[in-house]
């Protein structure tokens, strides 16, 4: 059961109105904070969490219409339910409030019974919306969730410059066969926790997990200044985290694990693919295929991290070793590849 006590911000330039509204809110078991005008209210909303806003329209400094506009433009605040309480004259003003995203309009003096019903309904709606957002967050990355919230859902992609990373655990099949399934699940959970941490710490987004393998994007859905540098920095941190994890494993008499990472940089088409009912955010294009081939090639080359030429060119200060041109399946010409120096034993 959710906490029935909500934090409500009451904004009104008139002291009598302010005190009376906050009294009503408190008598309904909620907590009320007060602001004297729109500017002060926005300041508070941007620094403290609130569940509901009771907003007057006619105010000096910044009026209620301007507050509604600013809330609508702010990704953090756009979902905050707002009940407008005003004694504005004219239906067009009320229509304007609703058009600007206000949940409801109550004419002043506010009837306390009506206010209670409206507050209850708004909080319930917010609870459902929060629940929905939480679900989206769990099954998509926060970047994708934000992208979905801002631009809505549409199948189809756009061309972006990005670095694509593939990573997997070497010899995973043998490892799975040598231990009970519970242990494998536990290993995968730890592994994914570490990898997610390294990747998102460098601005990347994990967009697919298949068994022990993962695919990550740097530069989509949100643009990244130095996508190649970020991807390689994340890869180095992933290897380092795995080394630390191996110390724990060897202390517990368990075999060390090794990972292989392939990174390619270039133009990709990123967007939602699937059907209207079920879709996933992904990237397609040559760059994606190449990154997958590079990752597979780490076993052949005996290196932890392999990158393509476009990634290598964008790097500064990272030690790389040219391994020459390699003919990859599906590629007409052989591709120059580079190994990034790591501490991981080959």
């Amino acid at each position: 059961m959710a906490d029935p006590t909500a934090r409500v911000l009451v904004v009104d330039d008139n002291k009598v109105n302010r005190l009376l509204l906050s009294r009503n809110v408190q008598m309904q078991g909620h907590r009320a904070e007060l602001a004297e005008n729109g500017r002060a209210a926005l300041e508070m909303l941007r620094h403290e969490p609130f569940d509901l806003l009771l907003l007057d329209i006619e105010m000096p400094e910044m009026d209620g219409f301007a507050v509604l506009e600013q809330l609508k433009a702010d990704p953090q605040l756009r979902d905050l339910p707002v009940i407008v309480t005003s004694s504005l004259e004219g239906l067009d003003n009320i229509v304007r409030c609703i058009g600007l995203g206000a949940e409801d309009y109550l004419h002043k003096p506010v009837n306390p019974v009506l206010l209670k019903a409206r507050i209850g309904a708004s909080l319930e709606k917010k609870r459902l919306r929060d629940q929905q957002k939480e679900l989206v967050r769990r099954f998509a990355t926060s970047e994708v969730a934000q992208d979905l919230q801002q631009s809505g859902f549409a199948l189809g992609g756009k061309r972006v410059h990005a670095s694509v990373m593939f990573s997997d655990i070497r010899g995973f099949t043998a490892l799975v066969e040598s231990q009970p399934p519970e242990e494998t699940i536990e290993l995968l959970n730890t592994y994914y926790t570490l990898m997610f941490d390294a990747i998102s710490g460098h601005g990347g987004v994990v967009n697919q997990m298949i068994g022990d393998g993962l695919m990550a994007l740097f530069g989509a859905p949100l643009p990244l200044d130095d996508c190649a540098g970020s991807a390689v920095a994340a890869a180095l941190e992933m290897i380092e985290l795995i080394e630390q994890f191996n110390l724990e494993r060897s202390a517990a008499q368990k075999p060390a694990i090794r990972i292989g990472i392939g990174i390619a940089t270039g133009d990709v088409v990123a967007g939602y693919t699937g059907t209207q009912q079920r879709a996933t955010y992904t990237c397609i294009g040559d760059t994606v295929n190449l990154a997958a081939r590079l990752e597979a090639h780490t076993k052949v080359a005996g290196r932890g991290i392999l990158i393509d030429e476009d990634t290598q060119r964008a790097l500064g200060g990272v030690r790389t070793e040219p391994l020459g041109a390699v003919p990859f399946k599906g590629k007409a010409a052989a591709v120059e590849i580079f190994a990034v120096a790591t501490g991981q034993p080959a």
Binding site: D13, N14, K15, N17, L19, R23, M27, E58, E89, K108
Partner: protein, 115 residues
């Protein structure tokens, strides 16, 4: 006391909803704030500032309605809707009427608060 100044039903409803003690305090707040709003109306009239004139009238209307001071609210609403009149003398006489009504409402509210 003049029964027509404050609508007793509205005042009683307010007491029911917010508590008599709280309403007594709220009346106190109104009596502190209202003279400032009346002065603001005069100032806005003198400086020919339509926006401030309308806002002060709006505020008085809103509070008048809260306490059941129906006539005060009606006079304030007229000023809010009309805005600054092109004829300052007419506004000033409307302001005088509003101030007189406020004096009556304030006296009645003081009685009710102690009653």
């Amino acid at each position: 006391m003049d029964e027509s100044v404050i609508d007793k039903a509205v005042y009683a409803e307010l007491q029911d909803a917010a508590g008599a003690e709280f309403v007594a305090e709220l009346v106190g707040t109104f009596l502190e704030e209202a003279p400032g709003m009346l002065a603001e109306l005069r100032r806005a009239r003198a400086e020919n500032h339509a926006e401030r004139f309308r806002r002060a009238a709006h505020s008085l209307k809103s509070n008048g309605n809260t306490f059941g001071a129906s006539k005060l609210a009606a006079l304030a609403r007229e000023l809010e809707l009309k805005g600054l009149d092109a004829d300052p003398a007419r506004d000033t006489s409307a302001l005088v009427a509003l101030e007189a009504e406020y004096a009556r409402a304030a006296a009645a509210l003081k009685d009710l608060r102690h009653g």
